[in-house]
């Protein structure tokens, strides 16, 4: 019944494919022109593609936490904080004139950063940092560092005393008195003008580099104009820096600030000359640590640029491998160029649909390129076999198209499907990744299945390649083929099953250890040993502040007057603060309640017995200094108050635990008119992301496997064939989870798509192979083993070859400075390679038993039993 339908389908589809091939080859001259024009058009458009590393793209905006965050973005932004830490590496503590001098200079430097909120810069050298001495008469308050500080021993002793009284130990001065901090807020640039914002950020990043370089660089570079450039004259110093780009300088832009303070003038690196001189401020005893969103952005952008060099690397490797495989320069070049075409087309389409390149979608071109190579290899391989068998170029093209159109198109559709299901993750950056990748794969149906055959009609295969192709396999190769073909014998299949089951048991057990979310502290975008994360650890370990912040918003909208003066509101916050302090994984908590109690206590001579919240509005107002919106803990009239929870780390499990405990408090403490809502801060974003990822995981897996099974069934019309193709993929997915668990790679935005991508691409091998197997099995005299052997000879080499090239190409990502790119590269590389092994190992083993021909089977089983 099903075979009957299958035959009918074969007739219909083959006729359709034949007609397509005739049209394609017949109109190839017209189509050639069309494709060249399209490529030129997209190529031109591709030059307009923009870098778009938007912060908001990376968060699950539909998640309730993120809705809270967006609602209060104006009240509680504060995310763009900059911390500059000066660490004294010499003898003793920081109270020496050398360090204090450096600290003063660094504070001045921070004031010079464009866009800095000057009123909020604080260090022991800023006047807003004062100490309070409670005296018999009341308070005494003075700046920590006296106005005319010159570094005499008495003054240093005085500063040390004042720092103690200021309460800044652990905040602006390290707990071990070996470092001091400058804290500043960057005001967002006018983001409506991306060009201006870009210039702004580049100037900020340049300044940050200078602050570090001033003390850590041996050399100072002075840049002078070579020729007049109004308002500057030749010889004017337009910049002083502590690092030089060398020959790359001509590509960079300097922003010279005119004396009158008008807009900076862009000066190209080719218009300046550089003088290098020893840096007078260099100090071996001082280390500079800088953390903050701007610094992170700078490091991520630098990491992104590194990715381009991997592309080159991957290209060269692929070229070498392709040539080794085909021994034809022409075929190699054609395959590579055709594999590049969808990349160019895709990048050309991006600006047209309003997309840019972000840290994740920058990986799509790699992926498209390697998938493109894989399919181009199948096509050129089939073409070469035809040519070697005696066909001319045009006929060979036509035949290659006919043979490969169905499996190739199905494989590409499954790829597209794999990319499409990752759109189930409700995060814009992942959506864009899915759309971009999907688009790229669909473009590949045109480039690989249409442009490549047309181009191949013009190629004349080199004699050397022809000779190489005709050369019979060496005895060793024959042995390898025989070995692989044995996988398809029921007897050896049992061995394969045994090995697979052992691996399966081990990896399943391991895979349960996989965690959701990131691990450790610092910026998850970057590697643990990156400078940024080193700086982050240094600051985190010597101060009481952390950089993993979860903020909870307490809404009290309907109270008369200031909500912070309502005892039910502040008392709830006070109890919440105490409760959260007791949650494992929390480092410290700050809220208006705690600060209000401090202020009230300060008004009562600092007595700890007064550190409590009074119940009357009038008495509470003694603490109202703590409810100043300027402190950033609440908005006007305390309509919304944020509780800052500093976490010990941002391990996914830790975040989940803290969030669950907070939700329990919220459920146990309903208070009229007060609403406690999660959650802002970087940990709030992580919590939302982790929850979104966790919710998407099962959905995504079901979608991809369900869709693949359906597509495979439509192609092969046999459930047994579907199982042969899908089961190895499922097993490798478990392997992948086990690998993630054992390498401590968490399931997160970057790694969640990996299984879908890996499965979507990995199914190609199975489809290409099984299509041939089914073709040969149609002959009743052919046994499964022989069908598999033939299929491997026809397509197996190409499959193995492409798996290796693709693994190497995406494997280059592991060199990236960006942690998540490295993780993705490693896992995808693993998936591509092991899926191939599954297709040539487990697939035939399953087939050997599922497609056993009944008659000759029984004696064989007897043999197996007898052999035992």
């Amino acid at each position: 019944m099903s075979a009957d339908r299958s035959a009918g389908r074969a007739r219909w589809i083959d006729r359709w494919v034949d007609r397509c091939s005739d049209v394609l080859i017949g109109y190839r001259r017209v189509l050639r022109v069309l494709f060249v024009v399209a490529t030129l058009g997209f190529g031109y458009s591709a030059t307009h593609v923009q870098l778009d590393p938007g912060f908001l793209k990376q968060i699950p905006i539909q998640h309730p936490y993120m809705k809270t965050m967006m609602e209060y973005l104006k009240d509680f932004s504060g995310a763009n904080t900059l911390l500059v830490n000066l660490r004294w590496k010499g003898e003793g503590d920081i109270y020496n004139s050398e360090f204090m001098g450096a600290m003063q200079k660094a504070t001045d430097d921070v004031f010079q950063i464009p866009g800095i909120n000057r009123t909020k810069v604080s260090s022991i050298f800023t006047p807003n940092v004062y100490y309070i001495e409670i005296t018999e008469e009341g308070f005494n308050g003075e700046p920590v560092v006296p106005a005319r500080f010159s570094g005499t021993p008495e003054e240093l002793e005085r500063v040390k005393h004042n720092v103690g009284l200021s309460g800044q130990v652990g905040l602006l001065v390290a707990n071990d008195a070996k470092a001091a901090l400058i804290r500043a807020d960057l005001q967002e640039a006018d983001s409506s003008d991306p060009v201006k914002a870009g210039v702004f950020y580049r100037r900020v990043l340049g300044r940050l580099g200078d602050i570090r370089g001033r003390f850590e660089s041996h050399t100072r570079y002075t840049y002078r104009l070579l020729a007049d450039k109004p308002p500057f004259k030749a010889g004017d110093v337009i910049a002083e820096r502590y690092s030089d780009e060398g020959w790359l300088r001509r590509f960079e832009t300097f922003y010279a600030i005119p004396q009158d303070g008008s807009d900076p003038v862009a000066v190209s690196g080719s218009e300046v000359q550089v003088d290098a001189a020893p840096n007078p401020d260099y100090d071996a005893n001082i280390e500079v640590n800088i953390i903050g969103f701007a610094q992170l952005l700078s490091d991520v952008i630098n990491g992104l640029l590194g990715v381009f060099s991997f592309f080159l690397f991957a290209f060269v490797i692929t070229f070498a491998l392709l040539f080794a495989y085909s021994r034809s320069i022409r075929l190699t070049l054609v395959a590579l160029v055709v594999a590049l075409l969808p990349v160019v087309w895709l990048i050309g389409i991006l600006p047209l649909i309003g997309f840019g390149i972000d840290p994740m979608s920058i990986l799509v071109p790699f992926l498209i390129f390697s998938i493109g190579v894989s399919h181009a290899v199948q096509m050129t391989n089939a073409w070469r076999q035809e040519v070697v068998a005696g066909a001319d170029s045009v006929e060979a093209s036509r035949n290659a198209f006919r043979k490969l159109f169905v499996p190739g198109a199905v494989a590409l559709l499954t790829n597209a499907l794999g990319f499409a299901v990752i759109m189930l993750i409700d995060i814009p950056i992942v959506h864009e990744l899915g759309i971009t990748a999907c688009l790229g794969v669909l473009l590949m149906i045109i480039t690989n299945k249409m442009i490549l055959p047309i181009w191949l009609t013009l190629i004349r295969l080199e004699d050397s390649s022809r000779a190489y192709s005709k050369k019979p396999d060496s005895p060793r190769m024959l042995a390898i083929w025989q070995g692989i073909a044995r996988c398809a014998e029921p007897k050896y299949a049992l061995v394969t099953f045994g090995v697979a089951l052992v691996l399966l048991a081990g990896t399943t057990w391991l895979s349960r250890g996989m965690v959701i979310g990131d691990s450790g502290t610092g910026a998850p975008e970057l590697r643990k040993d990156s400078r940024y994360n080193y700086d982050n650890r240094t600051i985190g370990s010597s101060y009481n502040i952390g950089t993993d912040l979860l903020s909870v918003i307490v809404e009290a909208k309907n109270f008369e007057g200031d909500s912070c003066l309502q005892y039910p509101v502040v008392n709830l916050i006070d109890r919440f603060e105490l409760y959260v302090r007791g949650i494992d994984g929390v480092r410290s908590v700050t809220s208006v309640a705690g600060i209000g109690k401090l202020v009230i206590s300060a008004f009562n001579e600092g007595s700890p017995r007064w550190r409590a919240l009074p119940r009357t509005e009038q008495a509470l107002s003694a603490g109202s200094r703590a409810f100043d919106p300027g402190l950033g803990l609440n908005n006007e009239s305390c309509r919304a108050i944020q509780v800052l929870i500093f976490m010990k780390n941002h391990d996914g499990a830790n975040i989940a635990h803290v969030v669950a405990e907070i939700k329990r408090f919220i459920a146990d403490n309903p208070t009229d008119g007060v609403l406690i809502r999660l959650g802002n801060g970087n940990v709030g974003v992580m919590a939302a992301t982790n929850e979104a990822v966790s919710a998407a995981e099962a959905k995504m897996l079901l979608a991809i496997f369900g869709a693949l099974m359906l597509l495979c069934f439509l192609t092969f019309r046999s459930w047994r064939a579907v199982l042969c193709v899908i089961v190895p993929l499922a097993m490798v997915s478990i392997f992948c989870n086990a690998l993630m668990a054992s390498l401590s790679i968490g399931l997160k935005v970057a790694t969640l798509p990996v299984i879908a991508l890996g499965v979507g691409v990995g199914v190609d091998y199975g489809i290409y192979l099984f299509e041939r197997i089914q073709h040969h099995m149609a002959d009743p005299s052919v046994e499964f083993r022989d069908a598999f052997h033939l299929a491997m000879r026809e397509r197996g080499t190409a499959a193995v070859f492409t798996a290796i090239t693709m693994s190497i190409a995406v494997g280059t990502w592991t060199l990236s400075a960006l942690k998540f790119q490295a993780d993705m590269g490693l896992l995808l590389s693993f998936m591509f390679l092991v899926n191939m092994l599954g297709a040539i190992g487990l697939l035939p083993a399953l087939g050997a038993w599922f497609f056993r021909k009944p008659a000759p089977v029984l004696p064989r089983v007897g043999q197996v039993i007898g052999a035992k």
Binding site: P608, S733, M777
Partner: protein, 392 residues
């Protein structure tokens, strides 16, 4: 081309012919493959099923995570009271500390605790809250609470001739004659006739922008805060408090008279010394000793300028005072001079982390309480392990 199609057709129809034969071998014949498929399916379901959360310690406030303002001991039983009405009890200073039962839990911060005898204990706190325990601190019930007034009780003393005194902010005084079961307010005028005008102009108030700042603090109609009470050697009662307040009562607290001021800063506590002397201590490193029932006072010599919020004396006469910046002072000469017994080196003067109460333990150790909860400080050979905020 036609030939290929024809052969395809043939292949397909021959497959059709073979189909029934293939159908004859049911799943049974291919059982190893079926087993394999089932194993992978099962493994996949298990591997991708929701992963259990890691187990974390139960959420609970540790004894070092909340503000503790008062300590008391009866035999081996220790009680610590503080933030949000929490009462911790332990039978060993090293712990474990457990939460006592408080009924009803008002959530007002407690400031002092006192054992009247080995079973009866009393605790006082904000909102005139008084709690009573008759089982050595295991459970507490409310005997007084006044949220409308919202003024704190800052200390409890007695029984002196059968009377217990609870006192606190804005001249508040409550008296009990039935071992703390009922409490009667007593009005005491703290405005001394000869009091010097307050030097308000000297306040270089960093919170000056605050409209409520100065108004809500000490100037509550001249009612000064009471911080400590002690019985003098002649049986009279001494009450100390804000801005140098010292009052004396010779009739068991019925009437109070102002004593001549010896210091213009606040006193935070008073205690009896074994040598029939009395010590008072307070702001900015000030402590005084009187050997003649308060007629004359000698200033102690102190090495620091921090405020002192708690004190204790051992049976052998060693005096300990604690206060700001985790300061612990010790005197072995009956209070004439003090030396620094403990302070984490790196915590500079005035840094956060104050102590409010102290109890002597055996073996040259102290139990201290304050912003960082309760903790044991070892004073072996004058060396101290830094208790809080220390970075190894």
């Amino acid at each position: 081309m036609a030939k290929t199609a024809a052969s395809m057709l043939q292949d397909a129809s021959s497959a059709h012919v073979r189909a029934p034969a293939a159908a004859q071998s049911p799943a049974l014949a291919s059982w190893p493959a079926v087993v394999m498929v089932a194993a992978v399916l099962g493994a996949a379901l298990y591997a991708f099923s929701p992963r259990p959360l890691l187990s974390f310690p139960v959420t609970a406030i540790g004894p070092d995570q909340l503000l503790i303002d008062g300590l008391a001991r009866s035999g081996s039983r220790l009680a610590a009271v503080g933030e949000q009405g929490e009462i911790l009890i332990a039978d060993n200073a090293k712990g474990p500390w457990r939460m006592a039962k408080v009924e009803p839990q008002r959530g007002s911060t407690l400031t002092q605790v006192l054992f009247v005898d080995d079973q009866l204990a009393l605790a006082v706190g904000h909102d005139s809250w008084i709690l009573r325990s008759t089982d050595a601190g295991a459970s507490w019930h409310e005997v007084n609470f006044n949220p409308e007034l919202s003024e704190p009780l800052l200390g409890i003393a007695g029984p002196y001739d059968g009377k217990l005194f609870a006192f606190g902010g804005f001249g508040q005084m409550l008296v009990s004659t039935d071992r703390g079961q009922t409490w009667q307010p007593q009005k005491i005028d703290t405005a001394a006739p000869s009091e010097a005008p307050k030097p308000a102009a000297a306040n270089a108030d960093p919170f000056a922008s605050d409209p409520f700042g100065a108004g809500a603090t000490a100037d509550s109609g001249g009612d000064r805060h009471f911080n400590g009470m002690v019985q003098l050697s002649d049986g009279a009662l001494l009450l100390v408090g804000e801005k140098g307040l010292m009052m004396k009562s010779v009739d068991h607290g019925e009437h109070w008279t102002m004593m001549p001021p010896i210091y213009n800063g606040s006193f935070f506590g008073a205690m009896q010394l074994p040598s029939n002397a009395v010590m008072v201590y307070g702001m900015r490193g000030h402590a005084f000793v009187s050997h003649d029932a308060g007629k004359s006072w000698q200033a102690s010599s102190l090495p620091i300028q921090g405020s002192l919020f708690g004190g204790t004396v051992t049976t052998d006469g060693t005096i300990y005072l604690v206060g700001d910046s985790n300061t612990v002072l010790v005197s072995k000469d009956a209070g004439a001079s003090f030396s620094l017994a403990a302070r984490a080196d790196h915590v500079a003067v005035g840094a956060r982390g104050g102590l409010a109460a102290v109890l002597p333990l055996t073996g040259n150790a102290l139990l201290t309480a304050g912003e960082s909860g309760v903790g044991v400080q070892n004073l072996a050979a004058g060396e101290t392990a830094p208790r809080t905020g220390a970075t190894p």
